[in-house]
């Protein structure tokens, strides 16, 4: 990747490895390996096929959102409605199918369109009013949260979708979003494949396409990007729509894996996504980061969460352990990154 003139006396040394070490996700990768090793050595179940199946599953849905949120963050914006969006789309499909008997695929499509609309509205509001996205999407978050609760209660009389599995053709989307295949004795859920696919596509877009270039630019220096002719408006609105689209995907994965969604599904998760993205090397102020790093961040989170349970530590301390582990991972991450900087 490096095109440096090897013979330049102003460069101390350079190597193939050092190019890799420059990548923003390297720290998260190392932290993930360390956490894996820790739990693999201290607990029995963690490194088994069925153990891995559990933490991969829990990392996958968070990971998909984290990758989308990472793109948005690189583009310099936040989406606090991302968590509630996963519930919103799941509830939409659930209500349309169980209460109104709509065809399940049509319901899925309707949910997608609604999600994209919300993303579009978020983006347009942010760009047109000049308000920080943190506040605009917080408003959307509250609205979605209220809708999720009030509409679900009003239409189903409950706060969770029931009887989804009895809906006609339920098996078809279930195969796409909620099935699992057994590999070496552990179930690998569809969400894991989706996660891999989303990460791969996002990485390719970010590093190899024009749009990726624009995302970095609008996040790093919006005025400058505008001055050299980057379509800032379109790029940002597109990013918001990508995030809400990812929310739809995760909503479907949740709905068809567990065959239910609750009105409070996803509430509070929006920060987990941001955390994963930051652990994965994204800058909060935008302009720097990686999609694959966010995926590693989600993996760290998923592994820590499940590993603590396997360790059998007192559940009341769960949060404290999680906090310490998170800080540890980020510190390790930073240390690796600094070392990489030095040796590049």
């Amino acid at each position: 990747m490096s095109t440096a003139t090897a013979s330049d006396e102003r460069i101390a040394q350079t190597s193939m490895l050092s190019a890799l070490l420059k990548r923003p996700e390297i720290g998260a990768l190392v932290a993930a390996v360390v956490i894996f090793a820790f739990f693999a050595l201290t607990t029995d179940a963690f490194a088994t096929a069925s153990g891995a199946s559990t933490w991969l599953r829990s990392a996958s849905t968070i990971g998909i959102m984290a990758v989308a949120v990472a793109l948005l963050m690189i583009g310099g914006e936040f989406d606090l409605s991302a968590g509630a969006m996963t519930g919103f789309t799941g509830l939409t499909v659930g209500i349309l199918c169980t209460q109104y008997g709509l065809n399940i695929w049509v319901a899925i499509l309707v949910a997608l369109v609604l999600a994209l609309c919300v993303g579009f509205v978020n983006g347009v509001m942010v760009m047109r009013t000049g308000l920080p996205s943190f506040i605009v999407t917080l408003g959307t978050f509250f609205v979605l949260q209220g809708l999720n609760l009030a509409l679900t209660k009003a239409l189903t009389g409950q706060v969770a979708i029931q009887g989804m599995a009895q809906v006609p053709f339920y098996d078809q989307p279930k195969a796409v979003f909620g099935s699992s295949v057994s590999i070496a004795g552990g179930a690998v859920f569809a969400s894991v494949w989706w996660w891999l696919a989303v990460t791969a596509v996002a990485t390719w877009v970010l590093l190899r396409t024009r749009v990726g270039n624009w995302i970095f630019a609008v996040g790093g220096a919006q005025v400058s990007a505008r001055q050299v002719g980057v379509p800032v408006f379109k790029t940002k609105v597109g990013l918001f729509m990508t995030t809400s689209g990812a929310g739809w995907l995760v909503g479907m994965l949740l709905l068809f894996t567990t065959s239910t969604v609750q009105s409070n599904t996803g509430v509070g998760q929006e920060f987990i996504y941001i955390i994963c993205a930051v652990v994965g090397g994204c800058l909060l102020m935008g302009g720097y980061g990686s999609a694959i790093g966010a995926a590693f961040g989600a993996l760290i989170y998923g592994m820590a969460n499940q590993g603590i349970v396997y360790s059998g530590w007192d559940n009341n301390w769960l949060r404290a352990f999680l906090g310490i582990m998170l800080l540890g991972a980020v510190l390790l991450n930073e240390w690796v990154r600094k070392r990489a900087e030095m040796s590049r």
Binding site: D44, A45, T61, T258, N315
Partner: protein, 294 residues
């Protein structure tokens, strides 16, 4: 699964509930389960998550971990169906507690130890009607929580007067008090405030005072302060679902199955409550409430 004899008690049970972190009710379930673990010298791992997807991951995780039995609360049975069935298929005995009375047999659980939020809620609704109340608010401290919503819904179902939910921000005590105060100020004909946790009852008492309303306070769950308030007459009654029993009996059921092959309940659900704590019997439960076991 090996059949352990009384000497070889190297047993591990997982208790997996749908509680949110720090919930007072579920804290007592946890205490009961852990006490049982201590008494029988078995390992009890408690974990919880209100999200059914996460909860079923916890069940899968416990199965992967090779536990000898699982105690699970099924607030959202649809969401846990696959995970519980998988566990049963793997030969892990499952006992459901608290909620899920309609589905436990279908999922292949050993038994169900109740009672659910519905039963408790219905009892409260009836009781309030008996007290001659006509207009109530049901204070929900966590939006969208399945268990809390169920309590209010069931209470409203049997209550003969009018009952409305009031959402409050349970993590800000000041806001809880203020919001209840506002509601009482806005609708002065409210004559009873039903709260869903001991702490919120205390806040409701001060809100009633603040608003100058003559509504009375009734609550789910106990705490030392609540028992004190009942004795003082500032709280009408508290309904004790005896959560400790649910945790304790859940583990006991698995334990007996393991060491003695017992089928506790004999295919029927077991009831754990509810019990009403009023001014008459408050003194009897005061010490237990202070211990955090009632």
């Amino acid at each position: 699964q090996e059949t352990a004899d009384a000497e070889d008690r190297d047993l591990t049970y997982a208790v997996i509930t749908h509680s949110s972190p720090g919930d007072a009710f579920w804290d007592r379930v946890k205490s009961g389960a852990e006490q049982a673990g201590e008494d029988y010298d078995v390992t009890v791992n408690y974990s919880n998550d209100p999200d059914p997807a996460r909860q079923s991951q916890l069940i899968d995780g416990a199965v992967a971990d090779g536990v000898d039995g699982i105690v699970v609360s099924m607030a959202n049975p649809d969401g846990l169906e696959e995970a519980v069935k998988r566990a049963v298929a793997e030969g892990v005995p499952v006992v459901s507690i608290n909620s899920g009375i309609d589905r436990w047999q279908e999922f292949g659980a050993l038994t169900h130890i109740g009672q659910s939020e519905t039963v408790a809620g219905e009892a409260v609704g009836e009781r309030l009607s008996e007290e001659g109340k006509t207009k109530a608010i049901c204070v929900v401290q966590e939006a969208g929580n399945v268990g809390l919503e169920e309590r209010c819904r069931a209470a409203a179902g049997t209550f003969e007067g009018e009952m409305e939910n009031l959402q409050v921000d349970g993590t800000d005590d000041n806001a809880v008090t203020s919001t209840i105060t506002s509601k009482l100020q806005a609708e002065s004909d409210i004559d009873v405030v039903l709260t869903l946790g001991g702490q919120y009852a205390i806040a409701a008492v001060s809100a009633v005072d603040q608003a100058g309303s003559d509504a009375e306070v009734a609550t789910f769950d106990l705490s030392a302060d609540v028992v004190q308030a009942i004795e003082d007459g500032t709280i009408l009654f508290a309904v004790d679902q005896q959560p400790y029993v649910q945790g304790f009996l859940g583990v006991t059921t698995l334990f007996l199955k393991d060491i003695n092959g017992n089928d506790v309940g004999g295919g029927q659900p077991i009831n754990s409550g509810p019990a009403f704590v009023t001014a008459e019997n408050a003194a009897d439960v005061a010490t237990f409430a202070a211990n955090g076991t009632r």
